[in-house]
Symmetry: C2
Subunit: 126 residues, 2 copies
């Protein structure tokens, strides 16, 4: 097995997601491992790990797995050389929308953190 190929357990540990989560991500088509062993074991590449790491921070921001799929597709379209101009234009527009939504959610997360810190303090002096 080439060094850049790893089984699901190592992949899960490296990205900080559960094995079950990786399997679920494959089920829904979010990140499908690039290969399988002869015996049927999932084999992840570094590139697969990068995709997993990319979408990982989206969960705390409240994005659905479908939206993560969408973002990966948009980025793929923008990075691929053989995308026609119309597709690129639409992808760019969708990315811009994503950026706005992300900025909003990050603000929301900041508010949640502030509220959580207040809550923690309030537990110190009941």
């Amino acid at each position: 097995m080439p060094r850049e190929l790893m089984q699901i357990g190592e992949a899960a540990e490296r990205v900080g997601l559960s094995v079950r989560t990786l399997r679920h991500y494959e089920e829904v088509g979010l990140v499908v491992p690039s290969a399988r062993s002869d015996g049927g074991f999932r084999l992840y590449t570094e590139s697969d790990l990068a995709r997993l790491a990319l979408v990982k921070p989206m969960k705390p921001l409240g994005f659905t797995l479908d939206e993560m799929c969408d973002l990966l597709a948009v980025l793929d379209t923008l990075e691929s050389a053989d995308s026609d101009d119309a597709a690129v234009a639409e992808a760019a527009a969708r990315l811009a929308t994503f950026r706005r939504v992300v900025a909003d959610r990050v603000r929301g997360l900041r508010d949640q953190l502030a509220a959580a810190e207040d809550f923690a303090r309030s537990l110190e002096r009941p």
Copy 2:
């Protein structure tokens, strides 16, 4: 209707939770409105609102509704004058555990925020 009693819509708006959420919280016994109108409308008091506001920041910290129930029970035991010593001691111990868990989760939330901010920045220059 006394001014301190409000229907579910106003209560939901004031605490920043959905009407459905308040109904669900009653179903599971987390926060049960103190009264009902003759026609069956839920009537929330300021004290009910305080309980809702108290547990609200626990959701972003990943606590379950059951755990929120537990915390409210613990705080009630500590504040009630007619709790026997054994109950108070146990409640104090459970509160201490809660504090540790909360502190851990707050750290986790900070990490998530940092990751989310990195993610937002990475979206600016693909």
